[in-house]
Every structure is written in C-alpha cells, then in structure tokens.
Assembly symmetry: C2
Homo-oligomer: 424 residues x 2
Amino acid sequence: MELQLLLTGNEIMSGDTVDSNSSMIAQRIAREGYWVDRKVTVGDDLEQLVAEIRQISDSADILIINGGLGPTVDDLTAAALAQAAGVELEENADAAQHVTSWCAARGFHANAANMKQAILPTGVKLLENSVGSAVGFSLTLNRCLIMCTPGVPSELRAMLENAVLPMLRASHPQPDKPEILRYQTFGLGESGAQQMLDDAFPDWPEDIEVGFRAGAPMLEMKLRISSSCTADKRALWQDRFLSVLGDYVVGRDDTRLPEAIVELLAQRGQTVALAESCTGGLIASMLTAIPGSSAVFEMGLVSYSNAIKHSQLGVQLTTLDAQGAVSEACVLEMANGVCQQASSDYAIAVSGIAGPDGGTDEKPVGTVWVAWGPKNAIRAKQFHYPLGRHLFQTMISALALDLLRRDLLGLTQEPAYFGRFRPR
Amino acid sequence: MELQLLLTGNEIMSGDTVDSNSSMIAQRIAREGYWVDRKVTVGDDLEQLVAEIRQISDSADILIINGGLGPTVDDLTAAALAQAAGVELEENADAAQHVTSWCAARGFHANAANMKQAILPTGVKLLENSVGSAVGFSLTLNRCLIMCTPGVPSELRAMLENAVLPMLRASHPQPDKPEILRYQTFGLGESGAQQMLDDAFPDWPEDIEVGFRAGAPMLEMKLRISSSCTADKRALWQDRFLSVLGDYVVGRDDTRLPEAIVELLAQRGQTVALAESCTGGLIASMLTAIPGSSAVFEMGLVSYSNAIKHSQLGVQLTTLDAQGAVSEACVLEMANGVCQQASSDYAIAVSGIAGPDGGTDEKPVGTVWVAWGPKNAIRAKQFHYPLGRHLFQTMISALALDLLRRDLLGLTQEPAYFGRFRPR
C-alpha cells in the first residue's frame, strides 16, 4: 500500500508558515499502522496541482491532499481535482447545506465566497467537517483514493478522526495495527537512553520498536508494539523498559513535568511556592498553564533583583554581600522565605546566570543554584548549563520541577544530570 | 529559473520532527529574490532518493537537497547523488581534512562513522560547513545545479550564508532582488490590516507587496519592495503604510512586545513591576527572556490565590468579598500594591478566568481585568477573550504589555481591541 501527501499553499512555500499539518497526519495514521511514503508540496498553482494529482494517482493507492479548501480565489484544490479527473465542477447540495448552516449558526448569511466552498467536482463523497466551514471530499482516480482535507489544523484534526481514518480503514485495512505506548521522560538524551537499553538488553526483540521524539528539554520515548507480539511478551518487555528507565519516566501519554507535579500535589492536597530569579517566572507559567493548578499553587515570586530578594523573601544582606545571589545560601533563604510567605508545603527557588552577560570567572554564564523540597527540609544543588539564555531558562525550569517530582515520589537514586555540574 | 527542494529523513516522514528547515531556506532565499517552486520529501530510502534526484534534475535549474549527510547508515544523500549522476563514491581529500580537523578540535579522533562523511560522489565541489562535521557538496546534473546541505538547523543556516547563496547568486543572478521590510504589529488580524490598507489606499502600487506572517498573538507585516521601485516612491509608500498602521506597529525586524518594553523603559531608566493572577508568570517570563531585562524589571508576583493577593499585595478582603478577584478594584489594588512593594515606576496587574473551569454567568471564562500605568495614575480595563486557556494566557500577556507600550509612548488613540469587550 502506497500513501502520499500533497500539500498546497503559497504561505508554506514562502516559509511564512511552517507546515505542521503533515506531521499531524503522519503521527495520527501511524497509530493505525499506516506510513507516509512521499510528500509533495506546491504553491497555489492550478497547473502544478493538476500535474501532481495526475502523477501521484498513477502510482499511489491513497493520496491525502491538504490545504486549498478555503473561500478565496487562491484555494484551488476542488478545481485541480476536477481537472485532473476530467469531471465538471458543480454546486454540491450537501456541501451547500453544510456551508449555509455553518454560517447561520454564527449569525450571518453565506456570501458568494463562502458558497464557493460548495462548488466541488462531480461525483465526490463528502468528508465531515465538524469544526469549520470548509468542506472535505474524496474521489477515486486511477484506483487511487484521493481525500481532500482543510489546512486549518483544528479542522484537519477533526476530519482525520471522523472521516479520513474510517475511509482508510475501510479501503486498506491494516492487519498489523501496532500499539504505541508513549512515555514522557526527563534527564536523558536520545543516545543515552538508547545506550541504557542496549546495555541492559542486547536481545531487545524486533517486534517492539523503541522510538524517540525530541521535545527539549523533555524526551518522548515510544514503544511501537507489533500486533504479532503476544500479551505476555508485551508485558515482559514493557516491564523491562520501565525497569531501566523507571525514574526518568515522568508520565504516560501527554503527562509532562507540570502535569505530573500538579497531579502529585493535588493527590496529597499539598501546595508548592516558587521563588524565581534567572528563570524569571517561567516555572510559574509552566505550572499555571495546567488546568487545576490553582489547587496546588498559590504564590510565585519573581525576585529579579537583590533588593527584592531581600525585601520580599528575607534573604539576608550579608548573604548577598558575602556569597552573592547565585549561591547555596541565597537559594536556600529564597526557598524558605517564599515557603513561609505562602504557607506552602513545598518550595522551589532558582538563582543563576542566564547570560549573555553577568558571568564571571568564578561563576560563568550557565551557573545556577536550585533549592527544593518540603518546608523543613529544603536542600540545594548547583548546576552548570551554558546553553544560551532561552534554552538555559527552559532547561533549568524543567530540572527544578523534576527535582520536586523526585522528592514527591521519594526517589532516592541520583539522576544522571546530577553529574552535569563540573566544578572549575 | 526553477528551484526545487528535496528533503530526506524518516523522522520527518513519521512526523516525529516537524520540518522547519524548508521554511528557513525559503525565507532566506526570498530575501535575495528567489522562490521555491516545489518541495518533495521522502524517507531514508536510496531507491526513492535516486529516482527523485533524476526526475527533478530533468526540469529544475536548482535543486537544494536537505538532510542525509550525517555519519550513520541512514544518511544516504551522497550515495543517492552518486547513483543518480552515474559516478563513483570516493574519499574526498578536502572533506576528509574537514572531518579530521573538526574531530581533532573537539579532542577526539575521527572514527569510521565520522569518516563516512568524507565519502562523496566523484567530482563534487565542497560547500563550507563552519559549524558542524557534515560536509556539504554540489554537483551539476542535467544542467541542474544540485546542492546538498545538512539537516542540523544551525549547520544549514551557516551553509546557506557561506556557500548556497553565493553559488545561487553566481549561477542565477537575480536582477530583481527585492528589499523586505519587516514590522511586528499587535492588535490587528490579517484581514483587518489588509482592509485598513485597502480602504486608505485603493491605488496601492503593485511593486510594493504587502505580506503577513501570523505568529499569534502578534502579526508580522512585510513590505516586499521590488528593485524597480524608486527611492522616492519607496519612501512615500513606507510613510503611507506607517501612517495607517502606526500605533499598531510595535517594532522593526524582531522587535516584538517584550523587546519594545525593555528598550523603552531602559531608555528612560525606569522600571515595571508585575502582579499576575490568570497569566501565572507568563508576562514575567516574556520580559525576562530578553537579555538586559534586569535593568527594567525587579519584581513580579504571581498571586494565584486570594489569600496571596491580600497578604502580599494588600488587596483588601472587603474588595475580594464584595467584588471578587476578577474586578476593577482588585486589579487596581494589585497593581498599586506591587508598584509600592517594588518601588517601581510602572506596574501591570492581571486577574481573569482562563478556564476551562471557574466561569460564572456574570463572569464567563475569558473575562479578564487588566490594570496598567505609571505609579500614581494606574487605570484598568476589562476584556473578554474566550480563547481556551493557552491562547487566553498568551493573548492577555501580550495585550497587557501593549497597553504599557502605548502608555510609555503617550499614544492616546484607542486600539481596535478596546472594542473586544462585549458586556453581557
């Protein structure tokens, strides 16, 4: 079975828009055992679209076209498919009904531009769009099943579920639909994780494929379990996988560090307070991006200057004078200070040098102290991540959350990144 | 002149990596007057690569291949190009020298995998890689100039500047190299901005093209000025553009809201303090992402609970009881409180309902109060953006910074988004 994608849009060709739709399509169909063999992208050009559709339909079994279904003159997919298939364009009654009711539900009358979306090649089958006004449609040409989908990501996502996948399954049932288990990990790189598995299990089975999706600072690991794999074997190797990666696994599916922290604290009815210097509010914004975080988080202080560390958190002037803001004593006082102010159960405090300026010989850019723990047992550790300002802030925020996660879970084994600090 | 891209990589086909390289290439060459006509993406498959190279080189003048230059067995670009061109693979002395010195500079000896990167088709010209170990190379096949570039974005970026663009300019000089002016705007959508220009200037000239790049919540607008455009005409229409969009333009090139705020405050030697509830630290993290922000920002308080609003910012319990945390009185007290605590010149405070929970009939999800201004003249305004939690937080953070920007610049005209609040 050969499956191809054809993407259209001047904004993709110019680079003004980064195409993430094809990634969404590939990932979604992979969960059903399908694979994209080839992808072609062209601008909004009728002649080019017609030529590509003709050529691809000669060899492929499935062609998913994405984009060009909108109301403007640049949206050419329907016209191109009609021309490639040698059929007429005509108003499709069901499509017209969809556009009219979509507009009516939003309190306006469909105008000519809207109604253009109902002008489709003769003989198409409609693909349900539960989200937007664009009409999806399919046609078989040269034995190739062609499905035309909208460029708006939310509309594409819905149409994949409601229409594209059902048609795929019906036309080309995939006997080997794999099971894909996804794990969010922190503290390992791709090669390090692979090495750990290779070392522990040189006989790793072929029908359980290990995959990675880099999403710095976290790493998503995937087990792609072939349908031929027995339940016992699956359970055995899943256990083995977790026995090696155990502490590094933050959660299943989309449970990343902030989700894990909110869940762990919510289960216990406990709270955390934050005192951030070099991360500048990023840890707070990561936590508060999660619905329900208000149950576990009441206060974060971004104390970006020494004056504020002193006045708001009670960091002693002698500490700041003698050891500086990037010091063990300072982050401990920051964490204890905010813990007290917020009457929280846990606290995190961070102070470091994000750069590009502010480094010294003794404390170069990338140096950071993190304090974390429960209110009467807060401890601190130094790290050194000279990664550039943006990546440094992202990495340290995640690292601080991971330290708290390990504390909440009572994990005692030191993660590999404890070795990342290289004292000078 | 026809220019095509060929991208290779299983991680792109599977969707595990979103391809942003082709966007980088398209945007960079657009500044020199070049345009990508077609883009093909395939996995790491020798036969497919050979077929694509042969077919594309039949019609295109330029083919840029991206990816597949690394040291692993999956990296097939050199082998595919050799096979497509019908030449041998051999160790290239200059390439071997590059790989050897690159490894030596990092304190290790090049191993067999590294040296594989020096095995290239006979007769290629090398493309300089100032950043990494991968060797770029070019070859002319069927009158098509083929340039092979690395998949690592930083290496690609450097090679575009140092090798690809010079070869492009030399082989296909572009007489019409346009000038591209980029402006970062806030408060307008694409269609709204286009409408304002259309209304003001129905006679907008054809040789100055207006372009957009959506980057919610900001909108980048571009003027693409053809080389045929005279300096006078260019100046006239640039003025006209700015006269219509003036207040909405935050900055040139990459000056977005946080950069603009840091710059404006730094010029005056003034500071801002933040009290955030529903944005949860996002405004602080946007400001502190900018190098040099410590000069203008000392304190941000994330007061996520009513208790903290009261204890840390002095919001009165009667205010919270009578009007609630999402109220004019509350954000005014928050802003004045944090301004006083931080002894800052300006303050911003935000309190709203990000959702998905917490909405009421009177204050539905998406309701938010923002307070902003100089220490003795802080004012507040209500908005309603039911956009979903993530987009709501992003939009309100940007909006709050824009309100401060307008205050700092003394802009008195109300932006269109003041009309966004629809009282019930």
